[in-house]
């Protein structure tokens, strides 16, 4: 190209570039002007990692979801105190019959956010929603197996008939145990149907429902209820889904949200940014679980031997794991998922110590002096990005006692659909994974999901476990049930099928403008939100 045409080209190019830059700058300036308005002081926006199935109908989603998105708008029949003891909710009292086969519930005065009164008919209707075979709420299967009928005695009294004693029935009416205690208005639900109710739910809780943007957020407004719960400190509440951990933290730092779920490794960044860290203590147990116990296919495998599983557990330096992998945010639990508020909790329980020498000895005694290779599935879990790092750390500890780890990276959906198959697929027999479970104050959860062969995640389908579980199910008093649960937990612990690595709080970064909370131990986020207030 000639010099002349080069100059011409340059000139044309400069003009084109100039127009382009001007357009981009204009777009940028226009965008900046149209950016997010600063949230008003009356607004509380919360960023969470999951909204579950986003079905706010208490009978249609898990307690983990209803505990976040439903707890702001629903009241429960019973409500826990901060020390995990049970207190009144919509129900002011509950009385067990002499034959232990029915409970009578008396209601206090309360109104739904549409202005109608909460009645015994509403409670009966709400319970019966969970008795429907299509109900997919947590523990709905258990309720169906226990409850035979619900009878209304008066406007404020009803009786629940059972086919077997249920000494902790009142606990089942609280948000620690399930969504069965959450009350919805019968007349409104029947008028709009299940889909209509999901789209515009009504409850008697401290907030009223405003809007649901599917896949994005739930929006609420303060309802100022005349209930047992506190009036909210903010006028408007938004619970929004921000799946990516880094984005949640950035939203918090930018001021777009006032409260954001964070991970332990983000705590330092939150503090450096001048923000606060709030905790719901004792929320999650991270555990090493082994598959195949009780299955004949595992008998000849190293991890089919309880002493080998114990050796593998003893070889893990849990305090160091908590420090390095969880940034110090964790404790060492004595028993897997058993909360201190759970019936049957034994304060004398102590966590096992780190002892690699004993681990080596146990391996040698079991016939594996030179170690072996074990498959460990490694899947990141929503809100728990540390799981793969924990698996790598465990592989290092096991290498020190001669055990090689074959880490199988996968996604959580794949491995969890594998370990829920019956019979377990061959590849899982003798394998392990690091999994998360919520710490429970729920007797029912322990009683019915603590690995017997009747549970979905059975890790210990042995005859002894089934016997202990059945004994717990048939207990006629709280004392009997407590003793049965203690025995069941001790037996499960002695089998090392779910070795607790760490107990972590649920962590939240909070804006400096937010006054802290006094949390419910192991409680769901939705239970805490009305307590948050702007700092005065």
């Amino acid at each position: 190209m000639s010099r002349l045409s080069n100059r011409r080209s340059n000139s044309a190019l400069r003009r084109s570039t100039g127009v382009g830059v001007a357009l981009l700058l204009g777009l940028s300036a226009g965008c900046t002007a149209a950016g997010d308005p600063e949230p008003a002081e009356a607004d509380l926006t919360v960023a969470v990692s999951s909204l579950g199935k986003e079905n706010i109908d208490p009978s249609a989603d898990t307690l983990a979801t209803i505990g976040v998105i439903g707890a702001p708008i629903y009241d429960w029949l019973a409500w826990p105190a901060k020390d995990s003891t049970l207190g009144p909710g919509l129900a002011t009292s509950w009385t067990e019959s002499a034959d232990h086969l029915s409970w009578t519930i008396e209601l206090g005065a309360a109104t739904f956010s549409d202005g109608t009164a909460v009645t015994a008919e509403d409670v009966k209707f709400s319970i019966e929603l969970h008795l429907d075979p299509d109900a997919t709420s947590s523990l709905s299967g258990l309720w169906r197996s226990k409850v035979t009928s619900v009878t209304v005695n008066s406007e404020t009294s009803l009786t629940v008939q059972l086919n077997s004693p249920w000494p902790t029935f009142p606990d089942a009416l609280s948000p620690y145990e399930g969504a069965q205690g959450a009350v919805v208005p019968k007349a409104y639900y029947e008028e709009v149907g299940a889909e209509g109710f999901r789209a515009a739910p009504v409850g008697s809780g401290p907030w009223r429902f405003v809007r649901h943007d599917l896949g994005s957020a739930f929006v609420y407004q303060r309802a100022d209820p005349d209930s047992y719960r506190q009036p909210p400190g903010y006028e408007n509440l938004t619970v929004k889904l921000v799946a990516e951990n880094s984005t949640r933290l950035a939203e918090l730092r930018s001021g777009a949200v006032q409260l954001a779920e964070i991970t332990p490794d983000q705590v330092a960044q939150v503090r450096e940014a001048g923000l606060q860290v709030l905790e719901i203590p004792d929320f999650t147990d991270t555990a090493l679980t082994f598959f195949g116990e009780g299955d004949p296919r595992a008998e000849d495998l190293p991890t089919g031997d309880v002493d080998v599983r114990r050796a593998l557990a003893l070889a893990i330096n849990r305090p160091e794991l908590v420090e390095r992998v969880l940034a110090g945010y964790g404790t060492i639990p004595a028993r897997f998922i058993v909360g201190e508020g759970t019936l049957g909790y034994d304060s004398s329980w102590q966590p096992e110590s780190y002892d690699p020498n004993q681990a080596s000895q146990l391996l040698a005694d079991a016939g594996y002096p030179d170690g072996f290779t074990v498959d460990v599935y490694s899947a990141p879990i929503a809100g728990a990005p540390w799981v793969p790092r924990a698996v790598e750390a465990i592989a290092g500890y096991w290498q020190a006692i001669g055990v090689q780890t074959n880490i199988i990276p996968t996604d959580y959906g794949t491995v969890s659909s594998l370990y829920r198959q019956r019979p377990l697929p061959d590849e899982l027999i003798g394998a392990a994974m690091v999994n998360l479970s919520q710490v429970t104050n729920s007797n029912i959860t322990l009683q019915n999901a603590y690995y017997p062969s009747s549970s979905v995640v059975y890790l210990l389908p042995t005859e002894q476990m089934d016997t202990l579980s059945a004994a717990a199910s048939q207990a006629q008093s709280r004392e009997e049930l407590g003793a049965a649960i203690t025995e069941m937990v001790d037996y499960a612990d002695s089998q090392y099928v779910a070795f607790p690595l760490a107990r972590t709080p649920s962590l939240f970064g909070a804006a400096a403008s937010v006054a802290g909370w006094s949390p419910y131990q192991s409680g769901y986020l939705g239970m805490q939100l009305e307590e948050l207030r702007p700092k005065s």
């Binding site: 044309a12 896949g215 880094s246 979905v456």
Partner: protein
């Protein structure tokens, strides 16, 4: 030309049928969604009931037949996770994805044209090296990392733009920037090479010799001929653009098909995975057809071949 378009559309339909079958089989080999969508305390009877309700207990061929019959009626099924019709989800999410991908592709074309012409037309090595570095960075840097870096700089340090979300033009800037960097990188390199080759061509020298203005030479001859591979590139890169959008939409909480697909895969929400994949594939088919037609329009040799 009309017969060509019809033939390509029929070919596209066959492609979509094949895609629907492959996705159908692959999703069903990844586990039972009933166990993932019921609480951990659900009984085996609950799982069996839900499996029946979802029709997953039927033979695979029968399931696929029912799925195709539904598709013929415009019924994509119901989301297992959200329990709403899939077509409603797609209708709600598709506009956001098209908006993001469309604007990103448009901005990428503008940026690539500017940068691509900069190198050969200035003839400066330093400019060439800078453009080369920028375009290489665009190709090599993971969209996930670029997105987070953009958030850190523009939203947190300089407080110019919102971190994430949607609803205003400001919310578009960072996701568009992230996607643009990715697409424009490759496009710039192709265009720069094309412009270099074309500007050395005899017809460009002849055009200058005839006294045409530089603007007419650049836009009438150089750019038109140099853009042929770029149009082809856009069509070929669309699947990558869609897969990058999954990451970008997740990072920026953009309410499009990408974030919907991510959630659906995690929950093994088969109908949604199938719906998103089918819609994505249909877009790829249509855009590739559009790209081929555009190339035919730009290049008379190809146009004559197609018409003939």
């Amino acid at each position: 030309m009309g017969r060509y378009v019809v033939a390509r559309l029929l070919q596209g339909c066959l492609t979509l049928l094949l895609v629907s079958f492959v996705v159908f089989v692959l999703t069903r080999s990844s586990g039972n969604p009933a166990v993932l969508n019921l609480p951990a305390t659900a009984s085996n009877a609950d799982i069996e009931r839900m499996t029946r309700q979802l029709g997953l207990d039927r033979p695979l061929v029968e399931q696929y037949g029912l799925y195709l019959a539904g598709l013929a009626r415009g019924d994509f099924g119901e989301s297992i996770r959200y329990q709403v019709p899939v077509d409603e989800l797609l209708a709600a999410r598709l506009p956001a994805s098209l908006e993001l991908a469309g604007i990103a592709a448009l901005v990428a074309v503008v940026v690539a044209c500017l940068l691509g012409m900069l190198v050969p037309l200035t003839g400066r090595r330093s400019v060439g090296a800078a453009v080369n570095a920028v375009s290489l960075a665009g190709i090599s840097l993971p969209a996930f990392w670029v997105g987070l870096l953009a958030i850190d700089l523009f939203a947190l340090r300089w407080e110019m733009l919102p971190v994430s979300g949607s609803g205003t033009p400001a919310h578009l800037v960072l996701p568009v920037l992230t996607l643009t960097l990715f697409i424009a990188g490759g496009m710039t390199r192709l265009l720069a090479a094309g412009v270099s080759e074309v500007t050395a061509g005899p017809y460009v020298r002849a055009a200058h010799a005839r006294g045409l203005s530089t603007r007419r030479v650049v836009f009438g001859h150089v750019l038109r001929n140099a853009s042929l591979p770029v149009v082809g590139y856009l069509g070929a890169y669309l699947p990558l653009l869609i897969s990058s959008a999954v990451v970008v939409e997740t990072v920026f909480v953009w309410p499009g098909l990408g974030s919907l697909a991510y959630d659906a895969v995690v929950a093994r929400d088969f109908p949604v995975i199938q719906g998103v994949t089918l819609v994505g594939s249909a877009i790829v088919v249509l855009v590739n057809l559009g790209a081929d037609l555009a190339i035919a329009w730009l290049d008379p040799r190809i146009r004559d071949g197609v018409a003939g």
